[in-house]
């Protein structure tokens, strides 16, 4: 039997040319610029940066354009690009406590110190299509302004921890494991888990987070705090030997507060699930925080029988670039594999039919 192993180059070339044409769409319409995507499709750009695990708004916007708006494809492009760059080192851990806050809400304390700031949110909008956006018009009215409050904005978790009601994080300066350098090993420590979740697929983590609320994992979460804003990135170049600021990046942080009934070594208290993502990504940060808490079940001595509590299940499947690679490879030619399966099924059918006839 002959199996085609070559050919198709012309077809592939023509397919890619057509792809470029469909990417551009109707040539009578103005072409989207990368800057327009960056400015006007900002949340798509943020999601691509988070899942592409590379903070660069311009690159993420370019990836969105190239991928025709397919955000997983865009994250894949960004991941591929990052492998072409050298790494200069690692930054100091971000101080999210010193964030310049655009949005900060708490579902546990109404009057928290520093206040609740809604920021530019979809919350409380009526989810009705706004047909005024179909016509290009004048820029919207300038956002209102008010005198800023300069009061500090302590973390809600800190308020609880001061009373001894919230488990404190272990102070540590340990060098964290890095998934981009070493493959996953189980049990994975929390640092590696958080890295995997931070770059994980929003949809997958959302579904898993939701499952913990619905009874698969017995979570009783409250949003202690969500904050969105800019933080300074500090880095110590080896040739300078002192810390400098590289600039600011936008991040979203979620502190999920969960009840914990205590164990032999720990009194009953609240424990936290933590979410931190590049850009403005509240849903992702919340889902990450729910799943982070789910994955802490074992270390807190809880039963770990729900999907969101199982490290291997969650960490091996949350990466959409890996997942899409394995799922989509099924599209590639499997002619030889399939021939052997075909032979098998034919043989089995023959013997089954023979047995039935006897």
């Amino acid at each position: 039997m002959y199996v085609a192993t070559k050919g198709g180059e012309q077809a592939i070339g023509a397919a890619h040319a057509w792809l470029a044409e469909t990417r551009r769409g109707d040539a009578a319409l103005p072409e989207l610029s990368v800057a327009q995507i960056e400015e006007q499709l900002g949340l798509a750009v943020d999601r691509v940066m988070a899942e592409g695990s590379c903070h660069d708004r311009g690159l993420a916007a370019l990836a969105v354009k190239q991928a025709k708006g397919d955000l997983i494809e865009a994250a894949f492009l960004l991941r591929a690009y990052r492998t072409t760059l050298p790494r200069f080192g690692a930054t100091a851990p971000l101080d999210t406590g010193a964030m310049r806050i655009r949005r900060r809400i708490s579902a546990t304390y109404k009057d928290l110190p520093g206040g609740q700031v809604l920021g530019p949110t979809f919350d409380y909008t009526h989810r009705l299509l706004d047909f005024s956006l179909t016509a290009a018009g004048l820029p919207p009215e300038a956002a209102s302004q008010a005198e800023p409050d300069t009061a500090p904005t302590p973390r809600v978790t800190e308020l609880l921890a001061r009373e001894g009601l919230m488990q404190r994080e272990q102070p540590s300066e340990a060098e964290p494991g890095d998934l981009t350098r070493e493959p996953l090993r189980f049990p994975a420590d929390r640092a590696v888990r958080l890295q995997a979740l931070a770059r994980g697929d929003e949809g997958f983590l959302l579904g898993l987070g939701y499952s913990t609320q619905r009874g698969y994992g017995n979570a009783h979460p409250f949003v202690g705090e969500i904050r969105v804003g800019d933080v300074a990135v500090c880095f110590t170049p080896p040739e300078l030997g002192f810390e400098i600021e590289l600039g600011d990046i936008g991040v979203t942080e979620c502190q999920m507060v969960n009840q914990f009934k205590g164990s032999r070594t720990e009194p009953p208290q609240f424990t936290r699930g933590y979410g931190l993502v590049f850009g403005h990504g509240e849903r992702k940060a919340m889902a990450m925080a729910l799943v982070d808490r789910g994955l802490r079940a074992a270390e807190l001595g809880e039963e770990a029988d729900a999907p969101a509590q199982q490290q291997e299940f969650v960490l091996y499947h949350c990466d959409n670039v890996e997942a899409t690679g394995f799922v989509e490879h099924l599209k590639l030619p499997h002619y030889v594999d399939f021939q052997s399966d075909l032979e098998n099924v034919r043989t089995m059918r023959e013997s089954a039919m023979k047995a039935a006839a006897e």
Binding site: A50, S53, C54, H55, D56, L59, L85, P86, R87, F88, G89, A90, T91, P93, T96, R100, R102, R103, Y109, D111, G115, Q116, V117, G119, Q145, A146, P148, T157, E158, E169, Q170, P171, S172, E173, A174, P176, G177, D178, L179, T180, R190, A191, V192, L194, Q195, A198, R199, V233, F235, E239, L240, I244, E245, L246, G247, D248, I249, Q255, R272, Y274
Partner: protein
């Protein structure tokens, strides 16, 4: 350095023009774009973890008199990194330092401050004032 890292190449260039003529400089390294791994902390204040990478451009320049300036700036703007390294080198000279600070750094810092303040004012307008003000807990 933080101020230069947050300014565009055009903004730095515009400010440097006031110091003309500038001494010639040679590139010792770069400008080259790479990545740094950005870290966070578990729970915001616990053990460090790797959040993801970001693009950074660095450059090192040397002036004719031997002063060497370094710059690392977020993003991929080679011109910005080179100009920032040049400003860094210029500021190594104690005599020139004040003039550079006054002509370049201070105005850029002021512009950045006012952008930040405008944003803080917009955020403040979305601050929720509850009608029942009670003591927390």
């Amino acid at each position: 350095m933080g101020v230069l890292a947050r300014a565009s190449a055009t903004e730095i260039e515009g400010r440097l023009a006031r110091l003309a003529p500038l001494p010639a400089h040679a590139r010792l390294r770069g400008p080259e774009t790479g990545l740094v791994m950005v870290r966070g902390r578990a729970g915001g204040d616990g053990a460090p973890f790797n959040l993801g990478e970001m693009t950074v451009t660095r450059c090192t320049v040397r002036l004719a008199d031997g002063r060497v300036g370094h710059a690392y700036v977020a993003g991929r703007d080679a011109r910005q990194a080179e100009l920032a390294a040049l400003v860094d080198a210029l500021m190594l000279d104690e005599a020139a330092r004040e003039a550079v600070e006054e002509a370049v750094i201070a105005p850029l810092a002021a512009a950045q401050r006012s952008t930040r303040e405008a944003e803080a004012r917009k955020a403040a307008a979305t601050r929720v004032n509850f009608f029942t003000m009670t003591q927390m807990r």
